[in-house]
Symmetry: C2
Subunit: 431 residues, 2 copies
């Protein structure tokens, strides 16, 4: 099982034990990464917009100040954990993406990964004074950009950098070659002036959905981070990605599928739910009506202390428009009151565990053994202690069950994920 890790949820800043200025604190982010590395997690995974939250009165902006500078700090102050960040192919020059991710790869001694996504938000486009291009153009540019970036990453042959002081030969010039790629949307002559890292070059991640995202994942990705709410759906997503890799001529085992998982780890179930209530109760007034839609019921936000009545449970039917509805109904049938149903995380971005460590370990084991995932992208609830609770509580159980490694297998992200070496474009897909 492979594990990645992101940063805390948005209500976290208000918790009394949290420094409310963590939003701008690189110290906090480094500390968090070090905790994840203590737990032997294979990688950090930082999403990015860049976009802006509309409601800054009440919540912090959703993203890192800058993912690359954050990972640069983490690279210097950790030694093993992989460093993956999102970079949009829609509003960035491939040469700039290639340069920063390869520099991060060299700086971290071979631990970088690029989550290549297209940007579909008009709020992001507006930061560049542009409109979002139509989907076909976005994905055509994404293909060109990834190929171009991988080619730039491979500008230097594996053994080109000789740095021989005696003879004065710095590099073998005939093994440092321009790439001269020109597409419909992007182009570059190159070469990039950065020698190979300890893993040659960064690996590609993918996180978009749909047929276009699947094709990108199949052709280029070594890791895919997905949003999925059931074992059945996860298994079918994973199978689709593996088939897409095979269609692209690759070994499907080279693409790992990670499901999101949000954790609130506590001593017992009641403490877990209570902690999650503290974190999210400011959202309940909005979420109760939405929970009603998911269940086909009219729910009263004033009656948070009461479970659903027998009549409501009998009349409830999960909405086919939201894949989380079945789980919400299952939790409701267990007899929890409205507040506790929401504290189970039935309306969050990913499945939520709010309870003791063994509950998270059981969930992960069940999904993993069902071949629904190769691992998880774990988002603990609160910067300052959520990752520690996961690392100290859940990881030892997974290790005792033989599901998770006790030590890193090597030093690079490719080592951690079992991804083969690559210099320049993968020759199997360069055609």
């Amino acid at each position: 099982m492979h594990l990645g890790n992101g940063y805390g949820t948005h209500g976290a800043w208000r918790m009394p034990w949290v420094d409310p200025t963590s939003y701008t604190s690189f110290d906090a982010k480094v500390r968090h990464a070090q905790a994840a590395e203590r737990g032997k997690l294979q990688f950090l995974f930082l999403p990015d917009g860049p976009s802006y939250v509309a409601d800054v009165d009440n919540e912090p902006p959703h993203y890192n100040l800058d993912v690359m500078l954050t990972l640069a700090a983490v690279a210097r102050e950790t030694s093993r954990i992989g460093l993956v960040a999102t970079g949009s192919t829609t509003f960035n020059e491939p040469f700039n993406l290639a340069r920063q991710f390869k520099a991060l790869d060299v700086m971290s001694h071979g631990r970088a990964g690029w989550n290549a996504v297209t940007s579909s938000g008009e709020d992001v486009a507006a930061n560049y004074g542009k409109r979002v291009p139509a989907r076909p153009e976005r994905y055509a540019r994404a293909h060109e950009s990834i190929q171009l970036v991988q080619a730039l990453w491979g500008s230097w042959g594996r053994d080109a950098w000789v740095h021989d002081q005696a003879s004065g030969q710095f590099a073998r010039g005939d093994e440092v070659v321009p790439i001269n790629l020109s597409g419909e949307f992007v182009a570059s002559r190159g070469p990039l002036y950065i020698p190979p890292s300890e893993q040659g070059q960064p690996i590609i991640f993918q996180a978009g959905g749909g047929g276009n995202g699947l094709e990108l994942a199949g052709r280029y990705a070594s890791g895919v981070v997905g949003a999925t709410f059931s074992i059945e759906d996860a298994r079918s997503q994973r199978a689709a990605i593996r088939e897409a890799a095979e269609r692209a001529g690759r070994d499907p085992d080279e693409v790992k599928f990670f499901a999101g998982l949000m954790t609130t780890i506590a001593d017992d179930k009641r403490s877990g739910l209570d902690r999650r209530i503290k974190l999210t109760e400011h959202t309940f007034a909005q979420r109760i009506p939405y929970l009603g839609q998911m269940l086909g019921l009219h729910l009263d936000p004033a009656r948070l202390d009461e479970p659903l009545t027998q009549e409501q449970l009998a009349a409830a039917s999960p909405s086919p428009r939201d894949p989380r509805s079945a789980l919400a109904l299952k939790v409701a049938r267990e007899g929890w009151n409205l507040r506790d149903i929401l504290a189970h995380g039935v309306i969050d971005y990913h499945p939520v565990i709010a309870g003791p460590p063994v509950e998270a370990a059981d969930h992960m084991q069940e999904w993993f053994e069902a071949e629904a995932v190769d691992g998880f992208w774990v988002s603990p609830d609160v910067y300052d202690d959520g990752i520690d609770a996961f690392v100290d509580g859940v990881i030892p159980i997974l290790q005792d069950r033989g599901l998770f490694h006790r030590e890193y297998e090597g030093t690079t992200l490719r080592d951690h994920l079992g991804v083969p070496a690559q210099y320049g474009l993968d020759p199997r897909i360069a055609g």
Copy 2:
């Protein structure tokens, strides 16, 4: 006197006491920055292309792997020194520049500066699959980009970020406002999602020449790094910049002028020249004929051990096409042989001191007291010991003479350079 600092010369990698892999070593760059901070230098200044050296067989590429990631590492491992890097306005989106420099500013607790330049090299343009735009377009885009970046930096009012855990107010939304700027070449809606740093926002540097560069410097820059070879020329460059600032309605004391200075510090003159010969002798075969052109003479590369003859000295006349020619003739008249004339650095990018610490201190005092400069951008010869030799040898002399501070005046780059606070566009130039 204010001092900035860059990195080593290109022959440095071959010196027996230098790690030849320093080109990719962030450890080396951090160590170097820490040495500069020990000497209380006001800022690091990292030029950037990004372009590629044609002769990678014989010399390392000229630039940092990535200036922003380098400064991110330095920011985490120093506490006072200012962090200035070049970012091209020609091939970067203003929003991306704004984001990374402001994130660096927050990360370093108010120590960032942006050297805003236009890119005129076709080799740089080719990395983006483009041609270099004509000069008027490049400078029009530069003006728009700087104004837009400064406006994005000022998106958050000085007191907008309240992060009040008790009330749940994260920020005053009415003090975090879009900028909605749209020019002929670049545009952005904003806001940028980064609160003010300890210095509010980064400061602007400028390093281009000519009338266009002068206008940029006058309107926006707090620091200008110039290439100049004589006190007279430096004084006239500095006066022109100060006049440009006045024309833009600013106090000319707000713009500091820094002249480049390259140093090879040694126990005595002979050791300094010998060290510089070791560093640069691979260039002599090319440089002797060029030295001849500078002096209007035909010089024989085979006669490195001989000074110019009386006949040659009598016939020599400094070429008006190279401002370094007069100094070259002066050194030749002192009777040095050809090898030693070159070791004086008469064909380098900036004036060179190769000798004992007092020689550098005298040079700096003379220029400073002639009001030719506000300070220097010092480039020591070799990563691994050149900055230490400068800091341990030259700085104490400058301090004893009352020319250089013994401690940082504050914690931010604005503190160090005496630059007033600014939030958003300077109202005097927002016109």
